[in-house]
């Protein structure tokens, strides 16, 4: 059974007014349990709207969303439980920190779930460990942390709810290259250990190519494609037409191939590309 299923989703902003705008139109897809799915799309393609629909922050104008086979809007009063199952990390999540200590802030989600004190403590500590926060930082004020650490604390706050599906909306925006790589590998590790489903929205094709199993491509409010990373990035020309691109290394390999050099044009990471070229040269 698929963990997330969207059926004919349509979403209209400002319905009934002169500012009416269709953000999503007839979107269908299924995501299997334990998958790591990347979501890409040009600015305004409906990515952010889509992820907000998935955890019930907004309600689709038409269509249905199923989490673990259950329609999330069947009982609107219980929408909070959906939000515990589908954890959502927004863009620049560090601006949502509010508690006196990092520990208290991370435990805000689990507390809202009504868990026991021991369980909360366990979850807070393991979430902090996943995101690379030190034990002594838990007792400091979140406002004393550096930008990157604040972001880790905010992400830990969502991870601590131990959601079945974790959605991250551009978690690495505005971080330095080292911080970015560290955070991404922590997310990958988390995914490997917990074996839950992760949806990652990103503008970096390189990041997505490296870590995603499948990619959902959005364009102008419609699902353009949902396929394996390999298949999506083998359609370089078409991706460019909708304002996206393939990873730089893939582009180079494609061009080498066009020049008649016998390399695999579908490599996705720099390491793979390096090996391909070395093989060719030797």
């Amino acid at each position: 059974m698929s963990v997330v299923r969207a059926e004919n989703i349509r979403f209209v902003y400002g319905g009934g007014t002169s500012f009416e705008k269709t953000a999503l139109d007839d979107v269908n897809f299924e995501i299997e349990e334990g998958e790591f799915v990347g979501i890409i799309g040009h600015t305004g393609s409906g990515k952010s709207t889509l992820v907000q629909l998935l955890n019930g922050l907004i309600r689709p104008t038409e269509g249905k969303i199923y989490i673990n086979g259950k329609d999330i809007w069947e009982e609107p009063k219980k929408i909070r439980e959906v939000r515990f199952k589908v954890g959502m990390v927004f863009q620049y999540p560090e601006y949502q920190l509010f508690e006196e200590t990092v520990y208290k802030d991370i435990s805000f989600g689990p507390k809202n779930m009504g868990l026991e004190q021991d369980e909360i403590d366990k979850r807070v500590r393991s979430a902090a460990e996943f995101t690379g926060l030190r034990e002594d930082q838990l007792e400091s004020s979140p406002f004393e942390l550096s930008g990157g650490e604040k972001r880790r604390a905010a992400i830990a706050g969502v991870i601590a709810m131990d959601p079945d599906v974790l959605i991250l909306d551009e978690p690495t925006a505005g971080l330095d290259p080292l911080g970015r790589d560290a955070l991404l590998s922590q997310i990958v590790d988390y995914h490997k250990v917990r074996k839950n489903t992760v949806l990652l929205v990103s503008h970096s094709m390189e990041d997505i190519a490296r870590i995603a199993d499948r990619i959902l491509v959005m364009s102008k409010g419609k699902k353009w494609m949902l396929d394996t990373t390999h298949n999506v990035f083998s359609r370089g020309k078409e991706l460019e037409n909708i304002g996206l691109r393939v990873p730089q290394i893939t582009k180079i390999m494609m061009m080498l191939r066009q020049k008649g050099i016998n390399v695999d044009p579908t490599v996705l990471t720099v390491e793979q590309g390096f090996n391909e070229i070395v093989n060719y040269l030797s």
Binding site: Q52, N55, L57, R80, R83, F84, G87, M88, F90, P93, Y95, Q96, L97, F98, F108, G109, N112, M113, F143, G157, V158, M161
Partner: protein, 260 residues
């Protein structure tokens, strides 16, 4: 709301000054006939702005509670023939006419004020206020600074609203419950929204101050303007016409002193 009507074209300073005089005159109306003159004037102004009347009615919705409350208070503070009595409360003919008088007065006041804000951009408005308050700088009031603060405050309202929305969503995603519970629980539920909002407002204010200083901004003196306000024929016409109306109000007050 942008537009090209007669009222839109008027100088913002003229509009503010006329609004002040209008407010004074609304409180100088002693009877229904002078109030009728003011109402006619209001309707004319609204028609001239070419903005749909529904928008004006919506502006009334904001102060609906105030209108109802003052109306009801006035209902029981009248003299005249007693129509109905219960304990300390008396309903009189005078009270009923007071009731309508006050309601009409507040409503047209609100609508004309809306006509000002609907037809004038916030920047023009603060600009005009700055110019009108300029004489106060003689008393060492920092008029330019006050106007600048007003402009910035107005400018950041939409930004803050958007920010509030974002933070609320983020906290809701962590299971914050803001839609149920009693009043205390709801106020408490606002803390996770208010604290980040304050923090980011301070950060934003700091950034803005820094950016202004980097561009060597320093207050009022010798500062030229991009848009210079000019009085024009339009303002003169409006002034003369309003003057006629206001004289009309005084005459109505004098000639029908007992028509209440």
């Amino acid at each position: 709301m942008p537009g090209k009507s007669f009222i839109h074209k008027m100088d913002a300073r003229a509009k503010i000054l006329l609004l002040i005089v209008y407010i004074v005159f609304i409180f100088l109306c002693y009877n229904f006939i002078s109030l009728a003159v003011m109402t006619a004037f209001t309707v004319l102004v609204i028609a001239l702005t070419k903005i749909s009347f529904i928008k004006y009615l919506k502006s009334l919705k904001v102060i609906l509670v105030i209108i109802i409350l003052t109306g009801i208070l006035n209902l029981f503070y009248g003299s005249g023939e007693v129509l109905w009595e219960w304990w300390m409360i008396k309903l009189t003919t005078g009270g009923i006419s007071n009731y309508f008088f006050v309601i009409i007065r507040i409503s047209i006041l609100m609508m004309v004020s809306s006509a000002l804000t609907y037809t004038t951009s916030p920047t023009d408005l603060t600009d005009a206020i700055e110019r009108l308050l300029k004489p106060l700088s003689f008393f060492h009031v920092q008029v330019h600074e006050i106007a600048m603060m007003m402009t910035i405050a107005l400018r950041f309202i939409p930004v803050l609203l958007e920010e509030t929305d974002k933070i609320m969503n983020a906290q809701k995603a962590r299971g914050a419950d803001m839609e149920s519970g009693n009043i205390f629980q709801r106020v408490k539920a606002l803390i996770p929204v208010l604290i980040p909002l304050f923090v980011s407002s301070f950060r934003r204010a700091n950034d803005l101050a820094m950016a202004m200083e980097c561009r060597c901004y320093n207050g009022g003196k010798n500062r030229t303007r991009m848009k210079i306000l000019h009085y024009s024929v339009t303002d003169l016409i409006a002034l003369v016409f309003s003057a006629v109306m206001f004289v009309g109000v005084i005459l109505c007050n004098l000639y029908f002193p007992n028509f209440v």
